[in-house]
Amino acid sequence: MKHHASDAHTLAAAYALGALEDGERKEFDAHLRTCEACRHEAAEFEATAARLAAAVAQPPPAAVKPQVMAAIDGVRQLPPRIPTVPSAAALGGMLRRRAVPLALAASVVAAALGGVTVWQAQNGQDLRQEARQAQRQLDAVSTVLAAPDARTVHGRAANGAVTTVVASRRQNQAVFTAGLLPTPGAGKTYQLWLDHKGTMRPAGFIDHDGTVLLTGAPADADAVGLTLEPAGGSPQPTTAPLILMTLPA
């Protein structure tokens, strides 16, 4: 069922009271993203509804707390949500708060902003798809950055590129960032590798300054390597590594 904009005001109350059906709730959530006045009203109504909740407060059985405290040990916390088109300031702030190296923050922002200029040149459909992809990429990257066990390694590659790896063993994920990366040249690409006890396994590609999520299983890897390979990549490295960054235990 479709709602016209004029319905929105009457729906804010039903929304805050949890009285919308699933589909309507999602529609209204989408509407809230575009209507600041509605957001404000819905927030006030939700605060009012919260008073109704507080008015029926009653302590849960004492046994619940230890169960919850034990349960959260095994529950991974979600990273903060990132705005669909992140502003450089907000994203930079978020990354700094998480004590991520500035170089990495800068390159993620650069990647996001680079994406924005590309979107502007395209039609709406592509734009939305690009935005979704960028969002997924940012979500994936920020999940690693926010991991409680995230470890960071910096390096400088033989070709002058500044590189950083952030890895979370618990999430079995790692992020690779490069800055000052020379263009690979025609018919070439930079390929990433995970070093598993001397065996190099392909872990993705990077062709320009930016951030990529490594493929494969970083949790078992000893190091991350970077080589220059023929376009399309190789099953095994065919050149000497430009850098091999040892992952902290």
Binding site: L17, L52, Q58
Partner: protein
């Protein structure tokens, strides 16, 4: 031993309450703000977002009664309510980094999550159990009677009780059937045999009246 106080006015006779009753001059265990100062909760939330379990323990103590209260109000079944309340508290831990202070207080955020989970639970149970209109209508009638009775007797907040009395009968029913019984506005309309647009409007002007009466701002 009733000596006259220095100001010369005789004291009212001291009466001991009957055994077991609450002394009349003690404040009732009513607290309009059962949670600590919001600023504290926002700080605690920030720590929780960084994985601080001690801060989460404090957050639990502050929020669990409200969470359990609204969940059991909607879900009714006690063991199911414990389950849902647990899920909610774990969800607060999981989503801590997604809490945004500019979008509302921690209490409001937690209440919204708790109410949504409770409603999801009853609606999925309802969908699974019986989709027949007649059955649904009977259930709603029961729910309505029980809710009306509970709203009269079980509101712990004097302010909410007072503000609730300031609503028209239809406003009060629309708000409480939705929030405390977990009905959709369509179900509310059916239960109260009132047209849908009227129910939407009553929910809205009812909430506005409650908001203003409670002095809610964001």
């Amino acid at each position: 031993m009733d000596a006259t106080p220095p100001d010369g006015h005789p004291r009212p006779p001291l009466r001991l309450p009957p055994t077991g009753a609450r002394p009349v001059n003690q404040p009732l265990p009513f607290n309009p703000h059962p949670t600590p100062i919001p600023g504290d909760l926002t700080d605690a939330m920030k720590k929780v977002a960084h994985g601080d379990k001690q801060a989460f323990s404090a957050l639990y103590d502050a929020l669990a009664p409200m969470v359990f209260g609204i969940v059991i109000k909607v879900v009714r079944d006690r063991s199911q309510s414990e389950e849902v309340a647990q899920e909610v508290m774990i969800d607060l831990w999981r989503q801590a980094a997604r809490y945004r202070p500019d979008a509302g207080s921690v209490t409001t955020w937690a209440a919204t999550i708790a109410h949504r989970r409770a409603v999801d639970r009853v609606r999925s149970a309802q969908a699974a159990a019986d989709r027949e209109q007649a059955q649904a209508a009977r259930e709603h009638t029961t729910a309505f009677d029980e809710v009306s009775e509970q709203v009269e007797t079980r509101l712990d907040s004097e302010q909410v009780r007072r503000c609730m009395r300031g609503l028209t009968e239809l406003q009060r029913q629309a708000v409480t059937l939705a929030y405390y019984s977990g009905l959709t506005y369509r179900e509310v309309a059916q239960t109260l045999r009132t047209p849908l647009p009227t129910i939407k409007t009553r929910m809205r002007d009812g909430l506005i009246r409650l908001r203003d009466c409670m002095g809610v701002t964001t």
